[in-house]
């Protein structure tokens, strides 16, 4: 489409009868489209908005009937109780430790593996790639029993290291698969050229490959982090002690209280969602890329 000069576009827009440009934008089809889009966004966002509203309401308003959206006396008392009267901060700390350490490990191992799978030839190379795909089929419940028995035998139950190891083996096939796809997209000639120019392999990898693979590595880290951050089953089985519980397990146990404290639970929900939201917004670009490489092409 040809771009009109701003002045003439303005003139067209202001002219009467119904301006051409506006008419172009507000066809019945477009209005319908906007309406449906608004509806879809509302459905997707409504439970979240309701959570925000509830978390800011004082007790009396949480259970008010009829319910209303805007808190009349907004307060942070739910958050205050969450931090002072429950072990939420301990759960939070545990979740951060386990999710971030397992992500680091999984990415380190997965990067080496993904690089090796795309740059070297040896027996069984394709089989390893297929094996990692096969784990998509694994019911987590199949893994948990052998893990539990093995870990109990070697004393890794109720220990950070046990849960971290479980998360690494759980997310590794996925990160190897994703990273392999990213490394495949980087032409071999690049590092060959660098090595012809006198760089050794390590230098070629550090200066040529890593900068190109970085978006892929970031995308993969986000996925592995989320897998660990969201996990309920492994944490439930492997971390029985109160001071070792992660957020999903700890928050689920809030439902065991005599009276379910919805304000408190919604505040906890907010505290889990905010980091996810920040993460999501700041990394949306990489996430889309990762999805493209991992799930569409592979």
């Amino acid at each position: 489409m040809k771009r009109k000069k701003p002045t003439s576009a303005l003139l067209t827009a202001l002219s009467f009868p119904l301006p051409e440009r506006l008419a172009e934008h507000l066809t019945p089809r477009r209005i319908l489209l906007l309406g449906i889009a608004f509806f879809v966004v509302l459905i997707a966002a409504f439970p979240l908005l309701w959570m925000i509203s509830t978390s800011l309401k004082p007790d009396r308003e949480v259970l008010a009937w009829p319910p209303y959206f805007l808190p009349k006396h907004p307060t942070l008392q739910n958050f205050w109780r969450l931090f002072t009267q429950t072990n939420f901060l301990i759960y939070f700390k545990n979740s951060v430790i386990c999710a971030s350490l397992s992500t680091l490990l999984s990415i380190a191992i997965g990067t080496m593996g993904g690089y090796s799978l795309t740059r070297f030839r040896y027996w069984g190379r394709e089989k390893i790639a297929m094996l990692s795909l096969l784990t998509y089929m694994f019911p987590p419940i199949v893994l948990i029993v052998p893990f539990f028995i093995l870990f109990r035998a070697i004393g890794l139950v109720n220990a950070y290291s046990g849960l971290i190891l479980a998360y690494v083996s759980f997310s590794l096939p996925f990160s190897v698969w994703l990273l392999r796809a990213f490394f495949l997209s980087i032409p071999l000639e690049l590092e060959e050229a660098a090595m012809v120019d006198g760089a050794n392999r390590l230098e070629a990898v550090v200066y040529i490959i890593m900068p190109l693979a970085l978006p892929g590595i970031i995308a993969t880290s986000i996925f592995t982090f989320i897998v660990a951050w969201n996990d309920y089953l492994f944490a439930r089985i492997l971390m029985g002690q109160e001071e070792l519980k992660t957020i999903p397990v700890g928050v689920q146990d809030f439902f065991n209280m005599a009276v379910i404290d919805w304000g408190l639970i919604m505040a906890a929900g907010m505290m889990i969602t905010i980091p996810a939201l920040i993460f999501f917004i700041s990394s949306q670009k990489y996430l889309i890329e990762g999805w493209g490489a991992g799930a569409v092409k592979g």
Partner: protein, 293 residues
């Protein structure tokens, strides 16, 4: 030179292979071994029972109920996720004001930890204080509040929550594919006089076949093996949760509730075999060349 290269490659892949063995080979073999024993989860009691664990499942009514519930849950939640996901992807592919924002909002539920989507839907659907019941009553759709998280509606509400939580996965994959469909195809179809609906069926859908093949496969597998959202949604499997006691839940209960590890292992193996059979059939029916890209 060549062998030195190969050695480096093998050295780099070694940690991955070791962990994959720990993850895949060990659990498979150990589960098979376990499934022939009657073993207690905590006490050092175990004895060889042969095929008894498997045979007892075949005559176990609860097992078949769980199997049925698993099928209902998997098929209904996957089907709705796919249909809704494709529709929303088509919508978000159109140009309209605020599209980027709409995309972000729609994709976000997939990023939420399961526990959050569970607690917020439990609150929204609460029978006494929930906003959904209030709105339905205020708009005169219903007279009495619906007990969403009660025995008769548990499966429906669980499927609903699963759709809300997981359909963005479908959206993002389909959307990524939609963006690379060559526009000339649509122009050609227009010249041939195809309507909007015709263009969808003759141009868009064939182009989406590949991605839908993978997405349906993955979503189906993941819904069949899903533990956490089902477990968290029901919360209590003593009474209420019976109506959503799918196979993963049943396995968990046998293993960690009744401490019958051998039986649990047999169940897990049965589940895995069912999945393998279903996946094989799926490949046979929908893809003759049997190629995974």
């Amino acid at each position: 030179m060549w062998s030195k290269e190969a050695r480096l490659g093998i050295l780099l892949i070694l940690p991955t292979v070791l962990l994959l063995c720990l993850l895949i080979l060990f659990p498979i073999l150990y589960n098979i071994w376990l499934s022939f024993y009657a073993k207690h989860a905590f006490l050092p009691l175990q004895s060889w029972v042969g095929w008894k664990n498997y045979l007892s499942m075949l005559s176990d009514e609860q097992f078949w109920t769980s199997f049925k519930l698993s099928l209902i849950f998997t098929v209904s939640s996957t089907a709705f996720q796919i249909v809704l996901g494709v529709l929303v992807a088509l919508l978000l592919h159109e140009r309209f004001w605020g599209r980027t924002f709409a995309r972000g909002v729609v994709l976000f539920p997939y990023m939420l930890p399961t526990i959050v989507s569970v607690v917020l839907w439990k609150w929204v659907l609460n029978d006494q204080y929930g906003i959904v019941n209030y709105l339905l009553q205020a708009w005169h759709f219903i007279k009495q509040p619906i007990v969403w998280i009660g025995p008769s509606n548990m499966m429906k509400s669980l499927v609903m929550v699963s759709i809300w939580t997981y359909f963005p996965f479908v959206v993002i994959n389909v959307l990524a594919r939609l963006q690379v469909i060559p526009l000339e195809l649509y122009d050609a179809a227009k010249v041939d006089g195809a309507s909007a609906v015709g263009r969808f069926f003759y141009v868009t859908l064939p182009q989406l076949k590949e991605v839908l093949f993978v997405v349906i496969l993955l979503r189906g597998i993941w819904m069949f093996t899903k533990f956490d959202i089902v477990w968290l949604w029901a919360g209590d499997f003593g009474g209420l949760g019976e109506s959503v006691r799918t196979l993963p839940i049943y396995t968990y209960m046998k293993t960690f509730g009744q401490y019958q590890v051998g039986l649990g292992a047999a169940l897990a193996n049965l589940m895995f075999m069912m999945l393998m059979i279903a996946v094989t059939i799926y490949f046979r029916v929908f893809r003759r060349d049997e190629e995974v890209e």
